[in-house]
Each structure stands twice: as C-alpha cells, then as structure tokens.
Amino acid sequence: MNALALGLLYLLLLMGVFLVLPVWVIVRVKLPLISKILFGFNYFALIAVISMHLGAVGSLFQANRAAREDLQVLIRELRNRPASEVIPALDDYLAAEAGSRVSLSERFPAPAGESPEPEPRPPAELPEVQCPVKSVMGLPGCGPQ
C-alpha cells in the first residue's frame, strides 16, 4: 500500500515537472501566439521522441541479452547432444518469422538443478610488477615485505 502511494506520488511529481510546469511556462511567457504554439510543439514532440528512443534502446538491449542466452544454450546443447538433434532446432529457428520465433533457451530448457546464469569468470591474473622502491626514509616500499 505504501509502495503504491509512493509510486503514485512519484508519477504525479513526474507529470507535474515534465507536463504541467512546461505548459504553465509556455502560457505565461511573452511571445507571439505562433511562437508559443511552436515552443509547445517542440517541447512535447521532444518528450515523445526521447520516450520513443528510450523504448527502442531498451528493446535492442533485450535482443542483445537474448542473443547471449541463445549462444550459451547452443554451447550447452552442442556439448550434450549430437548434431542431428541440434540441426532441426536451428532449422525451426530459421524458418520461424522474427515475431513468432521460439528462442533456443525455450526449445532446449536448462536441465533441473543447473543455474541459467553463466559461471562467473575467474579474475584475470595480473602480471607481477617489479617495484624498484624498497623503502624510503624508513617507510615500507611497494615490493614484498
């Protein structure tokens, strides 16, 4: 309930700042009518363009994640199944329309007990740096102590 009220308040604040305040400013500003109309059009068109672009970027981001998941599923299935079982799945994948495509992770669900997340990568080993400073004025240097 609290979260809902906070969400509504947040939405109200956003609408106030981004929709109502600009209308008030545009109505109050001393400009010829045609300039006022164009200013209003510019502002609200820009809001629409930015929202649309954010949506498009979000959609591409989802597609990017799906690409990685599909690759990981393909790697797993190539290790566990013979090629004769993987080829028909790829054929189905290619034959389907882009909108109705069943992803490889749905076609080959992860076996029970296996985490869908990839294993964390081991940290890269850094090359050992030779430190010429042993100690300065009694303070320890950066080499092994």
């Binding site: 305040l21 010829p32 164009l38 502002y43 649309m52 498009a56 990017n64 690759l71 393909l74 054929d91």
Partner: protein
Amino acid sequence: MLIFPLVLAGIALIAGWPLFFRRWKYNRYLWVMSSILVVALGAWSMLYFQFERSYALHAEAEAVRATRDALESGIDPRELADALEKLDRSTAFEQAGVRARYRLWYEAVREAER
C-alpha cells in the same frame, strides 16, 4: 533528485533555444528551424531503430545459418562449442551491440570451420 531539473533544463534548451534571440526581428523563423530540428531528431530515432532491428535480424539469421551449415558439413560439435565458448568469454563479445554480437558469432563459426 537533481537529475529531473537537469533533464528538464536540457529538454527546454533543445526545444526553446530561439528564446535567446527574442529581440531579433526574424525570430519566428528560428522557431520554425527549431521545430524542423525536433522533427528530424524523431525521424532519425525511428530510422535508427528500424535499420538496427532489420540489420540485427539479418545478422542473426546469418549466424544461425552458418552454425547449421557447419554442423551439416560434419564439424565436431564439441569443437564448435569450444570456439563459441571462447567467443562468449571474450571482452569484445561482452561489449558488443546486438548486431555486432551476431557478426562475431558468425565469424567464430567460420573460423572453427576452417
């Protein structure tokens, strides 16, 4: 919370920059130019998304078809899995956009086939 006023100021500046030239007698033409700028921005955004989506779908089909053809031609699936796993762990793949990701996938399959 500072982000809202900053975003609002940015949008107002892009939409209302002719306000800085209010005393100029041809000011109304600047408003028309500003409108054209905003409409062009919207058109660019739409075209960008449509092209990016279309190219990504094409790259996806190419990568999957290359994988299928490689398996059909008799490549060892484990060898192909190793090549793709190496790609999955690479930084270039991690940082790539959707189209580049499929392109890298395609190239990895071609490389494993050789």
